[in-house]
């Protein structure tokens, strides 16, 4: 067989679609053929629905009897094939590969001379392959049945609605306001959130900082706060400090990590 001679050559065979042994599998163009040739080995991953499928395909390619699989050769071919598979699917294939390698080793073990007790390690694989082959047959039959069924239509068919772009929004301010009115009036107890101006006093805080700096070379920032500062006092001071620092009217340093800020009149570098 042609493939067998290819196998002995250095170039490995090309795996193609299992259901199209020859014609359909040929690359579309000479260029593609050249690329495929240079890659040496191409597996069309989506063409196989699992490691058993790939294995069956390899056996079919080689016209091997399932009951008497040359494990060593098939294991090598299988490993070669999955080398080119994407990692996302490779786990299932790797599991089969490890099984095959294990079988290959088992086949190499010396058998008992009497030959009576030797149990073919391939038996389980053969059983699985036959079982899977049967499932494939049934699946094929079911695909045909579904195809035949699809040729008969029952009532109640609704064609998919054509996808229309949303119509442009046409409304004026009055429409919008009446819409708001309608929505608000339908709410039993409308909750109106009253917005109040924030009582931040950045200006006052800035003045306080500047007057402190007029007296002293440096101070800790909390000294600029009153005896029992509210959260707005703190926020006002922080914003004031940032503003002053931006303007260059004060300098802030932090002696250590998490230490309170120290406010200086001049930058620490020029002070040194």
């Amino acid at each position: 067989m042609e493939h067998l001679s290819e196998m002995t050559a250095s170039a490995p065979p090309t795996i193609t679609h299992p259901d199209s042994p020859d014609a359909g599998a040929a690359p579309a163009s000479p260029e593609a053929a050249a690329i495929l040739g240079s890659l040496g080995f191409v597996v069309r991953l989506e063409a196989f629905s699992g490691p058993l499928d790939l294995l069956l395909h390899l056996l079919r390619e080689e016209q091997i009897d399932i009951a008497d699989i040359p494990i060593a050769r098939i294991a090598d071919q299988f490993l070669l094939a999955i080398k080119h598979l994407g990692l996302n699917q490779a786990a299932d294939y790797l599991e089969m590969a490890s099984r095959l390698v294990r079988l290959k080793v088992q086949m190499l073990l010396p058998r008992n001379q009497d030959g009576e007790e030797w149990e073919d390690p391939r038996a389980e694989l053969v059983r699985r392959l036959l079982e899977y082959q049967q499932i494939r047959e049934i699946a094929h039959w079911m695909a045909g049945a579904a195809e035949r069924r699809a040729l008969r239509f029952g009532r109640g068919y609704l064609p998919p609605p054509p996808e229309l772009p949303p119509p442009p929004l046409t409304l004026d301010l009055l429409d919008l306001l009446t819409a708001v009115e309608r929505v608000v009036s339908s709410i039993l107890h409308p909750v109106f959130h009253s917005v109040v101006a924030r009582p931040l006093n950045v200006e006052g805080a800035s003045l306080r900082v500047l007057s402190l700096l007029a007296d002293r070379e440096e101070f800790v920032w909390t000294e600029a706060l009153g005896p029992r500062p509210s959260i707005t006092d703190v926020l006002s001071l922080l914003l004031a400090l940032l503003e002053l620092a931006k303007r260059g009217q004060c300098f802030m340093t932090q002696p250590a990590v998490f230490a309170p800020l120290v406010i200086r009149r001049e930058s620490s570098r020029s002070a040194d």
């Binding site: 629905s49 059983r127 079982e131 899977y132 049967q134 049934i138 699946a139 695909a143 049945a145 008969r152």
Partner: protein, 195 residues
Amino acid sequence: MNPLAQLIEAALFAAARPVTAEELVTLDPDASLDEVRAALEQLREHYDFDGHGVEVAELGGGYQILSRPAFAAAIERAQLGGRQPRLTAAMLETLAVIAYRQPVGRAEIEEIRGVSASGVLRSLQERGLIEVTGRSEGLGRPLLYGTTPLFLELLGLPDLSNLPRTEELTIALQPYKVETAGPDDESAAYVAADA
């Protein structure tokens, strides 16, 4: 056609899904199940021999009026009828395992197909072709799956016994067989075909 056959024709025409013979019996308080079946046969012959574009199909456990396959291409071209997206190979294989081994757990499906099955099981469930039928007594009490009437409808089969028989094949699948033992003896429905 007799009045019962006409009534059944009207009912099948009105329904957008297969209607069981039991449902058809409720149409007429005086009709028996046998009479309904006879009327269905009359309706079928009427469609088959009087030159109609539709036929009475038995599928998914019921009866439905369907257009004849010969007109499929024209109907589709005119976009008056459409088909569902085709099943993938993985879906078909998984359905095959479930159809013949139900109730069956995920582990067995994965063992037979040699690939992970969680994704395909989910899509089959979403399409309503399989359903969870129970839990296994085994470790972790895994979910067991079975096919739905919609699965039969999709394949155009009256019931599971219309799936191809696998007895003649050498491998021990457990084909569905028409129950011959008493209704309590569940194991009789699933007989190993180990030859």
